[in-house]
């Protein structure tokens, strides 16, 4: 009589360590690259923004509604602020996405957190972009300027 002894655990990997198939595409690589490149650009954009707003001219004392209205009347600052908004939002979102991937242990938790994250990002990017492009320093209702506006005299 012969007994068959099972080979000791050769190649048996417990199911929660098994990777679910190879992922296609370069998304993770591009996300990694984007973090580095946007980071470098953001350093320039943010410190430029801070310098112009807080140091130049009257510095921080000059900041009021009119100052912002004046900046957004200039296409240069519109593009500057738009780039800053998009890059900062996407950079931050990707960072939080990474943190969710690292700290959430279940795929369902990951999914739920990421839905909230992406929704928040979309709302802020869309709202911000709309404000930069449709900003009206002198809102009028029936030919009368609304209070708080900044209308050319």
């Amino acid at each position: 009589m012969t007994a068959t002894i099972e080979s000791p655990r050769s190649g048996r990997v417990s199911s929660n360590y098994r990777r679910s198939g190879a992922s296609k595409g370069n998304f993770e690589m591009l996300a990694w690259l984007f973090m580095r490149l946007s980071g470098v650009v953001l350093v320039v954009l943010i410190f430029g923004h801070l310098f112009v707003n807080l140091m130049l001219g009257d510095g921080i004392h000059a900041i009021d509604f009119g100052f912002v209205a004046g900046k957004w009347a200039d296409p240069f600052w519109q593009v500057w602020d738009l780039a800053m908004l998009w890059l900062a939002m996407l950079h931050g979102t990707n960072g939080v996405r990474t943190i969710i991937n690292d700290y959430a242990e279940k795929n369902s938790t990951r999914m739920a957190l990421k839905v909230v994250l992406y929704a928040a990002t979309t709302v802020i990017i869309v709202l911000g972009t709309m404000v930069i492009f449709t900003f009206n320093p002198c809102p009028m209702v029936d030919g009368i300027p609304l209070p708080g506006g900044f209308c050319p005299a």
Partner: protein, 260 residues
């Protein structure tokens, strides 16, 4: 049977304490070992052992003393006991290191020395973990020479510069100290882990190997090199002094320069 003759006394006078003249100091060590036995309880517990050890002893010697003289049921892996086989990686005072390369005198012996199994892999008993997920990742990066050229009649030649390129990553002994000290691996065990990437690096940058592209493709996975957060836990844990984080960064660079 003949009695062994005593060695003749040395003619050179050595001052005490030089050349083995002095006695090795001894001290008492309080060892706190993480115990787990699924046949008894699902809960892991701490067991305390007090042993008198020599100044030249390592944590592994203390574990041996416990196992051989106090409690034979204490389980741990070790083979060569000299830092080459990579069997006895464990968490000593919270740091992942080899028990056979950690001298007791280098630890704070006034406090209990905690010994736990490495983190992130399923514990089987006491300090023994199931290494299979770790080895599965290792196998997946194809850690063997793939050469599509004609079989050379003699050896495959390589310049010393070409050999130097991957010298650091040839030192890996697969002890799992790096992978089990990686916080990304702790989360869900899906990450390939530093050890697999180090062993891929060893062949990716080998001038004799032709499968570098395949390995880079494997590590371009969402659980591959891009999950590395450069926390340097692996470089710090490596008992062979491999610059693991640097090797991972080089693999990232290689994937990038191939794709972009």
């Amino acid at each position: 049977m003949t009695a062994e003759l005593a060695e003749p006394a040395s003619k050179i006078e050595l001052p005490a304490g030089v050349g083995g003249g002095g006695e090795i100091p001894t001290f008492d060590v309080h060892l706190r070992v993480r115990r787990y036995n699924p046949e008894v309880s699902e809960e892991a517990t701490w067991d305390d052992f007090h042993v008198t050890m020599y100044g030249t002893d390592r944590v592994l010697d203390a574990l041996h003393k416990v196992k051989w003289e106090i409690d034979g049921s204490v389980s741990f892996r070790r083979s060569c006991a000299h830092g080459v086989c990579g069997s006895d990686a464990m968490r000593i005072n919270g740091r992942t290191r080899l028990a056979c390369k950690t001298l007791l005198k280098d630890l704070d012996t006034t406090k209990p020395i905690t010994v736990e199994p490495i983190k992130g892999l399923p514990v089987e008993k006491d300090l023994i973990v199931d290494m299979e997920p770790f080895f599965q990742s290792f196998r997946e990066v194809m850690p063997f020479l793939v050469n599509r050229g004609h079989e050379p009649t003699k050896e495959r030649l390589q310049s010393s510069e070409e050999r130097e390129r991957f010298d650091d990553t040839t030192k890996c002994i697969l002890c799992a100290a790096c992978t089990s000290s990686c916080p990304v691996f702790w989360t869900d065990g899906q990450y390939f882990g530093p050890a697999a990437i180090v062993n891929a690096h060893r062949f990716i940058f080998d001038s004799r190997d032709d499968a570098g592209d395949m390995r880079l493709e494997i590590l371009n996975d969402k659980e591959g090199v891009w999950r590395c957060r450069t926390t340097f836990n692996c470089s710090e844990a490596c008992p062979r002094g491999i610059q693991v984080t640097k090797a991972i960064a080089e693999v990232k660079q290689a994937i990038l320069s191939r794709k972009v």
